[in-house]
């Protein structure tokens, strides 16, 4: 992964830039001592890191706007940061960039149960949005694995998903409005607590734009009434193909589970060793979860059982109580942690058409042998969003590069099969240079023209998303 040469003119003016920021922000809102900016050198894609020029931590929209105005006038790149949990390097800085962190903006501004929305400052964590409304029986649906830590601002930047989006959609389907501060420091209100207004859908552009169009400081989010209950079943199979066929049959039968999760043998074995969830010894397993009142869940899971039985499962395990349900989820929820215990790993995020699942898993197996690196698969099967985990040893010279090369091959495979490079993590720096695999030069140009509108000087998170060569002339502007 390559970073462009930092702008020496900006670095040379560091003292002046920091002084100007201090002049418009409270003393504790500007950090520039190297030992204090260290925490901002990377996000959850920790293989890549770089110290920023400085960090600003504003407490209000006015402070965000003031900071951005200074940076705009000084032509300093700005990297917005929520909680720093990006798996794609979305909030990784460059040496000449200011990190603008939203961690101090986390208040709940308005809850409206009659109209079913909540308005929050965008630095608030995902799970604490649900926390603010659950006493009234509501929740915020998108549930990325990092939901305890990740911020709504980052969810909006990456259009984050989660395990339950087969039924509830991803961030963009649950976002009603934002307050956006542009790079020039202008405050723009987009959308609000109504549906499908008349003009162009700017909200759709902002969501998933990876912090390149503006800094989202507040968000209006749709909240939903919590279902009466939910219950999973676990189904073990003797091959990936059979598990894949079972997924397609469940979907075709007209059942809409809230989640269908898939794990293959390497993943099952690693999580078993790590957390002893008691998973069956099999090639592939599915966790299927349905929602509703107990009798409604029985009705749906009864159908799932009928379908699964046609595929001769190694095991069909039902949860008789909350403890058993928790044990079914335990291994899946521990999968990433389990992998981290035994190895370094790189988590991919491509999506494929569900129908090509067996073929893709077979090809990943072949690639894994060719490269001599183990790959464990865990993913959201209902929507085709895969998370192959490539296991490697970061301390061994050459392994990181080998791992990246294998990752690129797998993502190219996803695109070839009619899928895409990233289903929910975002492009960031990680997949930036693969964008040409999925898009033509004209497709990318059309997207970059959108950035031209919001950020003509290309100062917001400029080295992300687009291949460096494609964005070079704009960034030089």
């Amino acid at each position: 992964m390559e970073l462009p040469k930092a702008d020496a003119r900006v670095i040379a003016r560091k003292a002046q830039i920091v002084a100007r920021l201090r002049a418009v922000l409270p003393a504790d809102a500007v950090i520039d001592a190297p030992e204090e900016t260290r925490a901002y050198e990377c996000d959850a894609l920790s293989a890549y890191r770089c110290p920023p020029l400085a960090v600003v931590l504003p407490r209000s929209i006015a402070e965000v706007a003031a900071a951005l105005k200074v940076c705009h006038e000084e032509r300093v790149p700005v990297v917005p940061r929520g909680a720093g949990t990006s798996l794609a390097g979305g909030s990784m800085p460059t040496e000449d960039a200011i990190v603008l962190g939203l961690a101090r903006m986390s208040a709940v501004l308005e809850t409206d149960y009659e109209n079913r929305f909540i308005r929050v400052e965008a630095g608030r964590t995902n799970l604490s949005v649900t926390g603010a409304v659950e006493a009234e029986g509501f929740f915020y649906a998108p549930d990325p694995s990092s939901q305890l830590a990740c911020a709504i601002s980052g969810n909006i930047a990456m259009n984050s998903g989660g395990a339950h989006c087969l039924k509830y959609g991803v961030t963009t389907n649950n976002l009603l409005g934002v307050t956006l501060v542009t790079m020039a420091g202008e405050v723009v209100e987009i959308g609000g607590p109504w549906s499908d207004a008349g003009g162009l859908d700017l909200l759709a552009l902002v969501c998933g734009s990876e912090g390149q169009l503006g800094v989202v400081t507040e968000a209006v989010l749709r909240i939903l009434p919590k279902p009466e209950g939910a219950r999973p079943v676990l189904i073990g199979f003797s091959s990936n193909e059979i598990a894949g066929a079972c997924v397609a049959d469940i979907i075709r039968a007209g059942i809409l589970p809230v989640a269908i999760e898939f794990m293959d043998r390497p993943c099952i074995e690693a999580t078993e060793a790590f957390c002893h969830a008691g998973y069956p010894d099999c090639e592939a397993l599915l966790i299927v979860e349905c929602e509703g009142a107990p009798a409604e869940i029985d009705e749906q899971l009864g159908l799932v059982r009928q379908i699964a039985m046609r595929h001769d499962p190694v095991e069909f395990r039902e949860a008789r109580d909350g403890d058993e349900a928790a044990r079914i989820w335990l291994g899946r929820k521990s999968a990433f942690g389990a992998m981290g215990q035994i190895n370094d790993y790189m988590c991919l995020d491509g999506t494929i058409p569900v129908s090509s699942l067996p073929q893709v898993l077979r090809r990943i197996g072949e690639l894994s042998e060719e490269y001599g690196l183990k790959v464990a698969n865990v993913f959201h099967a209902g929507d085709g969003n895969m998370h192959p985990l490539i296991l490697y040893n970061a301390n061994e010279p050459g392994q990181q590069e080998l791992c990246e090369a294998l990752g690129a091959e797998i993502l190219k495979l996803c695109v070839e099969m009619g899928g895409c490079l990233t289903g929910e993590h975002g492009v960031g720096i990680e997949k930036r240079d693969l964008m040409g695999v999925q898009f033509t030069a004209a497709d990318l140009e059309a997207q970059m023209r959108v950035k031209d509108v919001f950020d003509p000087a290309w100062l917001l998170n400029p080295v992300k998303v687009f291949p460096l060569a494609a964005s070079a002339t704009r960034r030089a502007g």
Partner: protein, 358 residues
């Protein structure tokens, strides 16, 4: 000019010497647009995978053809697109590209999202005559900016759609509607109570001559269970009855604005914060329908009515579907500036449906 391939479309736009007025089935003539008519007849279902809940079709494919194809597999377009032919007094046959360009969503929007939420990919030709794609045929995709959703509801002012891809949902095997005898300006609190319940309501509106209506869909036992629970929940608002056989027709009537068909007057659509519905309906008076729990108000008003002034104040947007008033709500200056600049990027010559969105 009638266009049957994407290449023809690109050529027609590249060589256009002046404004073009883009037409699918011509069933949604909203807003003013001048220019040479350009009829997109790029038709046919390209790919339909029932096991993956996805469908790809040419933008000129008739909506009815798509609805029939997915119904044959026990599936449906989640957003329940409306047919406006009767209400707007137009001939023609709605195309899927027109549905997307207008982002038309019916009653199920409260549960399954809008047209734009089901749209997972597009191919289109921009104002330069360049063929572009965005999104794809998978339902989870965050690769690059979301121009797919931007195209929904852009009324052909950013590009001309040639192909659209959707995620689908299984069609429900059973449904029921709870009918509550309430006047239009008293319906919203009951609808809010239903939508705020855990009973997975898939429609919440008000129909003239019927009352407040709440729909539930799904497996038969589950529908029966939820209907019972909702009857208890809604009892404080008025007498509640359960409609089964007539359920689907009620929602077709609301979706297609059947009570307004063939009636003279200006047709308005208000998208507002639902709790504002009672006051807004009282100010508008007369012929209204409610959908989306009160968040969508349809009004048939005497010709020439300044409905925006009449309804004010409201939090949201008013659109004039038929009438002399400006079709779209004026936007706040910063938003309008961004929209203008985007149009200039996608259509630098300003030839695509100029004036359509104001």
């Amino acid at each position: 000019m009638k266009i049957e391939t994407e290449e023809q479309l690109a050529e027609a736009i590249r060589t256009a010497e002046g404004p073009v007025r883009i037409v699918g089935g011509g069933t949604r003539p909203v807003g003013q647009a001048a220019g040479t008519p350009l009829q997109v007849a790029i038709s046919g279902i390209r790919l339909y995978e029932p096991g993956a809940l996805t469908l790809v079709a040419g933008a000129g494919t008739p909506l009815a053809e798509i609805e029939a194809a997915v119904a044959a597999e026990g599936q449906r377009l989640p957003f329940e697109p409306a047919h406006w032919v009767a209400a707007l007094g137009q001939g023609g046959e709605s195309t899927i590209g027109g549905v997307v360009a207008a982002n038309v969503s019916g009653p199920r929007r409260v549960q399954a999202g809008a047209c734009r939420d089901s749209l997972i990919g597009v191919r289109f030709v921009d104002g330069r005559g360049e063929i572009l794609k965005n999104g794809g045929r998978v339902m989870k995709n965050v690769t690059g900016y979301d121009l797919t959703k931007l195209m929904a509801g852009s009324w052909g002012t950013l590009g001309v759609l040639s192909e659209v891809a959707f995620k689908l949902l299984p069609a429900a095997t059973s449904q029921a509607t709870l009918v509550i005898d309430l006047p239009s300006d008293a319906a919203q609190p009951a609808l809010a109570a239903a939508l705020g319940s855990p009973f997975d309501v898939s429609g919440a509106g008000w129909l003239p001559g019927v009352g407040a209506i709440v729909r539930i869909e799904g497996l038969a036992d589950s529908v029966a269970y939820r209907a019972d629970r909702l009857v208890s929940l809604l009892a404080p608002f008025g007498a509640v009855r359960i409609e089964r056989e007539g359920s689907a027709q009620l929602w077709a009537d609301l979706r297609d604005l059947a009570p307004f068909a063939g009636k003279p007057g200006d047709l308005w659509r208000f998208s507002v914060k639902p709790s504002e519905a009672p006051a807004l309906v009282a100010r508008l008076g007369g012929k209204v329908m409610l959908d989306w729990g009160g968040g969508l108000i349809w009004a048939l008003l005497p010709e020439g009515t300044d409905a925006r002034a009449m309804a004010a104040p409201y939090t949201g947007h008013a659109t004039c579907l038929r009438g002399a008033a400006p079709a779209f709500e004026p936007e706040p200056a910063p938003v309008a500036a961004l929209s203008r600049a985007l149009r200039a990027q996608f259509d630098p010559r300003g030839i695509l449906n100029p004036g359509r969105m104001g």
